[in-house]
Amino acid sequence: MTTLDSSLVSALRTSGVQLTIGPFLVHVRSSLPGVRNYLDRFYGEFPVRDARDGHFSVSVVPGRGLRRWIRPQAISLINGARPFYPLPGNLAGPLFEWALNWAIGRVAHRWVVVHAAVVERGGRAMIFPAEPGAGKSTLSAALTYSGWRFLSDEFAMLDPATGLVWPMPRPISLKDGAIEIIRARHPDVIYGPEGTNVDDERFVHAKPPVSSITRVHEAAVPAWIVTPRYRAGAPTSIVPVARAHALVQLAGQSFNYNYLGVTGYETLVRAIEHAQCFTLEYSDLDDVIARLTEMTDA
């Protein structure tokens, strides 16, 4: 784990620093130690510069007045706006992450953004479009720590010009029971402290393997589009889906394809066209990992 050198630590607290996170230059500013620790733990391998510009600007600042000290708060500003209510100060680090999610979901229309997890094997990407709560983070974490490359657990970033999906190997967000499941399987992964979010869920961030982080410049071709569903006790079942149906499902998980107009729609059409499309039901992680690995080897 590398840490920010002292000049950058000072800049982080005052005018901010610029992190390169996947395709984005992110200006980050915070005087809160929680943010500095979070960045040290999860973003130590990401390029960082003493600069103030970028695609987004995220500040995490202390609460006002008494709330700076008494039941301290953390407040996020994204590009000067405050879309979130203040949060408890111990969530300052995760607040940076959620603020970044907000920005990518709303002001990144250079990309077609799909709410999905993405992993890769052999240069080919497997995309798991899904509603929040469908278990895609757990599945993508399990695959990642079993040797697949990790691109994202939250956003598939599709390039309209090339159709490729670009990595953003940010911390994986595990919730409730998934925390124990992944921790038991992979105790040596770097985890952040456990917290409770605004939806009253327990959460923990897990660091992707360094190899996933350093291969951030390698885009991948979408080869499989798999809608996952965890169902307790269910045998692993991989069922083909007609592409027309898969397209409509994929569109349903895309925040912004219509912001890019016809180009945005056609990016989705193209992704489906060249991929194999399935629904996946599972309960046993070892089995589903084996089945997916076998499928991608073929």
Binding site: R29, H55, S59, G80, A81, R110, G252, F255, G261
Partner: protein, 353 residues
């Protein structure tokens, strides 16, 4: 990090200054414009001037994203207009669009990349029940206001509470007058309806009434109920109409007919002071007759500077009632995209029975 409103006001007044900005300043402008709902204005000015030149990739991406957002804002407004037209068209109700949706329908400068919280529709008082019913039938629900707020609207304001569409989450604000009943001014709806013009299949107020409505909205009852964007709207409208023969005469006449002389005076005064709107000297002289006493003018000057040259504030009563909607912007935001299924069992050749 504070937003650079001072820079925003400078370029609003003199857009040529956009050419000399560093990338980090253009980026800050995007943020300030976004907060003050002037992103559409900024994108248009940058594009019209071919700016910025040689932008770093991150800035091109930011502007491209802003451009996409602006286009989507207009598309969404046009679509809502289409849907409202479909709902009200069959009823025979005399309906018309006001403000943002009207600007977009007419292709007016304030309509560029227009971001709105809701769509304002004006109908004569007698048509209100039929209009409300038709909108209900087409998916707009009377809104999840608590009984107190709902009664506040209906009984005190004699207004309908805003209606939200069950699927698209767009909000329609149905009015029978352009100012709240509690206002001191009561510009007659009948005159606005009579002089309405048709653009692209919908009715909107005539040129003078568009300006006067914007003025009344901002300056009624001696308060400043709005933000910098409202002044930019007035400036944009006056520049668009000011060269048309007869406009200024009509404007002055209608200000009298609608009893909106004071708001008209303020609108022109502050558009000129803040944004240098060109106004014929003769009109300027005529409007001066509607000026308030000197002490009031001074107070108003201070109010305007404070209220309009800073972060956007939404005004008064509406804020409380819409608090539920404040963070739910209805431009397609995460998780609200629904794919609609158009299949019928009988139409499937592979149906099992």
């Amino acid at each position: 990090m504070t937003l650079d409103y001072a820079l925003l006001v400078r370029v609003l007044r003199d857009p040529a200054q956009l050419a000399g900005l560093w990338p980090v300043d253009v980026s800050g402008l995007i943020d300030a414009a976004s907060e003050t709902r002037l992103l559409g204005w900024l994108v248009h000015e940058l594009d019209a001037r071919g700016l910025p030149v040689d932008a770093p990739e991150w800035l091109s991406d930011r502007i491209g994203s802003a451009r996409a957002t602006s286009r989507e804002c207009e598309r969404a407004l046009r679509w809502e207009t289409d849907r409202i037209s479909r709902a009200l068209g069959a009823t025979g109700v005399q309906w018309m669009l006001l403000k943002g949706a009207a600007y977009v329908a007419a292709g007016l400068p304030p309509g560029r990349g227009r971001r709105v919280a809701d769509i304002d529709v004006l109908v004569p008082l007698g048509d209100l029940p039929a209009a409300e019913r038709a909108l209900n039938e087409h998916g707009w629900r009377p809104g999840a206001l608590d009984p107190y707020d709902d009664r506040y609207y209906r009984d005190w304001m004699h207004e309908l509470p805003p209606m939200m569409h069950e699927a698209r989450r767009s909000i329609v604000d149905l009015h029978h007058a352009i100012l709240p009943r509690t206002s001191r001014l009561h510009p007659p709806t009948t005159r606005i309806v009579e002089r309405a013009v048709s653009v692209n299949g919908v009715k909107i107020p005539c040129a003078s009434h568009l300006v006067l409505h914007a003025a009344a909205h901002l300056f009624h009852d001696g308060e400043v109920s709005g933000a910098i964007r409202d002044v930019v709207d007035i400036d944009g409208l006056l520049r668009a109409f000011g060269g048309n023969a007869g406009f200024w005469t009509d404007f002055v006449g209608e200000a009298r007919a609608l009893d909106l002389q004071r708001p008209a005076y303020y609108a022109v005064r502050y558009a000129r002071r803040l944004l240098d709107t060109p106004v014929p000297a003769s009109v300027d002289r005529e409007l001066r007759a509607w000026a308030p006493p000197a002490a009031v003018a001074k107070t108003m000057d201070a109010l305007v500077t404070r209220a309009l040259v800073g972060p956007t504030r939404t005004s008064g009563a509406k804020t409380a009632a819409l608090a539920l909607y404040v963070r739910a912007h209805w431009l397609r935001m995460p998780t609200l995209m629904l794919a609609r299924h158009l299949t019928h069992q009988m139409f499937r050749r592979d149906a099992s029975t």
